[in-house]
């Protein structure tokens, strides 16, 4: 597929920077302008922002970038734009952006999210003190905002539930536990586990995280330096988040991934697909019983469930659970109660 670059032109090889920031966008200029400002205001200046215009009108993106570049900021990072002629999947767009950069670390910065000005500084510093870490993930504030008629305003915000346990393989396997805006990755992870899976229309970040975490730990920084913006139902539909307007697609892709993992060989006696399905069911229990059991520890359930699966012929139970979800849920609840009650 053809693509062309604008903004700051690369020489023969892209400039080596500390952090490559890949920002995919498609015809959301207002949010894009805010996202660019969020990068420009970083206290760490050694970044290269690549905006991947995923098939949208080039003139719109170029105009946003041109105006943003007229702003004098304390940061001296560079901005370039990669215009894709036709729209590709989100993960393919990420891969294109990453291919256009060389850096020690990278971040996927969605065009509707934002950072505290210290996000890159703190994350990079943490990488320095955790040399074997694959990623650093900061605390997150979720901002619910309304976007209507070209204006956007916050409605409320809340702390996004995240703990160190949710950044382990077992903590993440049941569900996608954090949005990309909160994570800084070491670039070497890509050479170890491959790039983002371009075949996935959504949840590519989750699938990538599950591969990445096998190469090194995800270090958690509780300070809330990432802001995950989601649009309220009152917003114009074009501004919506993939997760809030495409719940069915997320569910479907998740099942596909779990099917894929079921066919993979078990590692240390545990099959990734089985682990994901069971941990996911545990999360569903949490969600359906949220009103009555307020503080269910999903990580603990996931960990204990994994132990059960590893120890007791798992396949039969899980398949039965998938075929008859109510029976499956009841069985797991019974078993968990028995274990937790010990």
């Amino acid at each position: 597929m053809a693509c062309k670059r604008s903004g700051v032109q690369f020489p023969s090889a892209p400039p080596m920077t500390m952090v490559a920031v890949v920002m995919r966008t498609y015809e959301r200029p207002v949010l894009l302008a805010r996202a660019i400002a969020s990068v420009q205001q970083q206290t760490l200046s050694d970044w290269h922002l690549v905006i991947v215009n995923n098939g949208g009108d080039p003139a719109i993106v170029d105009n946003v970038v041109r105006i943003a570049q007229q702003s004098t900021t304390s940061s001296s990072g560079t901005i370039s734009v990669l215009h894709l002629d036709a729209r590709v999947g989100m993960e393919e767009a990420s891969n294109r952006g990453l291919a256009a950069t060389t850096s020690e670390f990278f971040v996927i910065h969605d065009d509707d999210d934002s950072w505290d000005e210290r996000f890159l500084e703190v994350s990079v510093k943490a990488m320095g003190s955790h040399v074997s870490a694959a990623a650093v993930v900061t605390g997150i504030t979720r901002i619910h905002e309304t976007f209507r008629g070209g204006s956007v305003w916050p409605v409320m915000h809340e702390d996004f539930y995240l703990t160190p346990g949710r950044l382990t393989l077992r903590g993440m396997i049941g569900n996608n536990t954090f949005p990309p805006i909160a994570a800084l990755f070491r670039r070497r992870v890509i050479s170890q586990v491959g790039e983002f899976d371009a075949s996935l229309p959504v949840l590519g970040d989750w699938e990538f995280n599950l591969r990445a975490v096998t190469t090194g730990e995800f270090v958690y920084i509780p300070e809330k330096l990432a802001r995950y913006h989601t649009r309220t139902s009152e917003s114009d539909s074009a501004s919506g988040n993939s997760i809030t307007i495409g719940e069915d697609l997320h569910r479907s892709v998740k099942l596909q991934l779990q099917d894929r993992w079921l066919q993979e060989p078990a590692v240390n006696g545990v099959n990734k697909g089985l682990l994901s399905m069971t941990a996911s069911t545990a999360t569903d229990i949490e969600e359906t019983q949220g009103g009555t059991r307020t503080r269910v520890d999903v990580e603990q359930i996931a960990n204990r469930t994994a132990q059960i699966i590893a120890l007791q012929s798992p396949l039969r139970r899980v398949v039965r659970g998938v075929l008859h979800p109510r029976h499956g849920v009841r069985a797991i609840v019974r078993r968990l109660r028995r274990i937790i009650g010990k």
Binding site: A33, A37, Q41, I67, Q70, R227
Partner: protein
Amino acid sequence: MNSTAEQVLDGCTKGTVLSIDFFDTLITRSVAQPTHVFAVMEQRLIAALGDTWRGFAVARIEAEQAARLHASQQDENRDVTIEEIVLQLAHQLSLDMGQRTMLIELEKETEISLVQAVPFGLAITQGARERGMKVVIVSDNYMPASHLVAMAHAAGFSWVTADDVFVSCEHGAMKHNGALWPVVFSALGVKSNDIFHVGDDQHADGAMPGKYGISSHVRSTMRTSHRTMINTTPAVLPLSRIEAWYRDTMDASTWDVAEVLGGGLVAMVVAAQILDVQSVLAKREVAGVHFAARDGYLAHQVWNTLRERGHDLPEASYTAFSRSVVWRSSLVNADALELDRFVGDDEMVTLPRLERRVGCALVAEVPQDELLPATVSREILRNNAQIIAEAASGLRTRLVRYLTAQSLLKPGHHVVVDLGWKGSTVADLAEVASDASNGASTCEGRFTGLFWEATPVRLRVALHGYAMDDVGSADDNVRLLGIIKLMEALVTAPHGSVIDYAYDGSPVFVETKPELDAYAAIVGRIANAAMRGALAIIEGTHESGVTAADITPQSVWAAMMQVGHTPRVDEIEALSAIHHVTSVDHEGSGRVMVAKAPENSSSICVEDLPEMYNTLMHRHWMQGSLRALENNADTRWIAHEMYRINPMTSPRWVS
């Protein structure tokens, strides 16, 4: 005017012992309030040990609260010790024994490095000793007597020994509940009428000694600079130091709220406007610097003074434009909806006033002095659309001529300095400049603050919010919205808004009585103090020690929050007289900045609060109004309910 030490001592005829409170009576610190000592500690901890100590100051305050609660459950008469506080802190921050010891030492060292004598405390102890009185220190505090002695020595009170100090944490009794006084009587072998006590707390130093038959004098001037204690972070220190300096220099006279507001918050904002432009000049080629009327007036004055004093700064313009004048100049092809915006839905205006708004004579068969409802006014405007378009065209010609004279159409990149808040007026201006220069002139808006409505404007002009912007946290965005009216009232010029441009290219300002009155009463004095303060900060001669290096986005935001979000009673009272004139023609009496409490608060119900919240947020100084409600017993519940519904409006702004 406060009583002098001699006058106070003259009033004490029987006492042979002068008992004096320690903190904020005998000694103080070079910061505005006691908790800011912890902000200095946090600053030092971060510098020495890294970011993990961020938030230490708030944790330290909360640890003391927790320790006091714990102690009071055991014995309500006793005070806590520093060791108990640090133990609570250890629970919160998972500190080991070495870190606990380090923090106690650091707190002692920091206190000693900041301590200074209160001039009144120095004078009255000297006077008492000259009169042959024994002087002792009676204090409620968690530090041991040995530390108070060390602090006293550091402040110049070399005569103080541990035997002269009665501190609550060492005696299982407090001054606050009176239980410490029998300890003092017994140790000194004196009776109550032998003691004359001086302190700064009405209850602990006035009422309680009185119950024990001790004469006392309460002098709380060192407390005038206190604000909400929990808002403690290193960013508050620059304003804290300035306000502490004012507190000390005004100790013997009267607290001048206008001087403090101007020399503190406003001086920091003005200094930031100038320093921000300097940072732009250091990074890119700039064709022109333009301070916007009226928010940039003070900075432009200071800029010119700096140039006169030899600072290497380019010439800068003071450029007058306003939302209404730029908008009117764009109405060459106005439709009915745009014309309707000249009149508010519930507004009644006369024909002459309507004519002044659109800047031309209108054809209408109505009496000149008749107040017209909005429907009639709008009908007249629609019937005169062609005349209004011609007037707009003329205005645009004059505006372009003016901008040319101001060098804003000169090819290249221009920096426009404004206070805030959406950037839309600067975007309008940038578009006029770009159109008139065939794209040769580009603009960048440099603002003190921007909030979420700036986001779409980023598609039209480059924006930068110095202390806060739309990318900042949602809570801080709301907090900024709540102080906009205050900032506009304080950071302003001695003239009114521009409403037109004369044919000779000079701007036509409208003068309104409310604004003139406010300027004469207080705003002018604030402005003078601000210009002096900003100059001193930038030139490094400010007597508080605050310099340009202390002016950062974080410290300016903190200063805006310290005053705008947690105002003191004296500030609310002083600023209550200000009216904000907002109508499109800048006529009328405007709105009071601090909303008045409802006369019949019992008729207000919870369902009315969202509407009240919106009104306070958009039409008044939110926090000044809320505090005014809170200070009135009848309306206090309204403020508290507002805090509950909208937690970001509560006094705590440091997370």
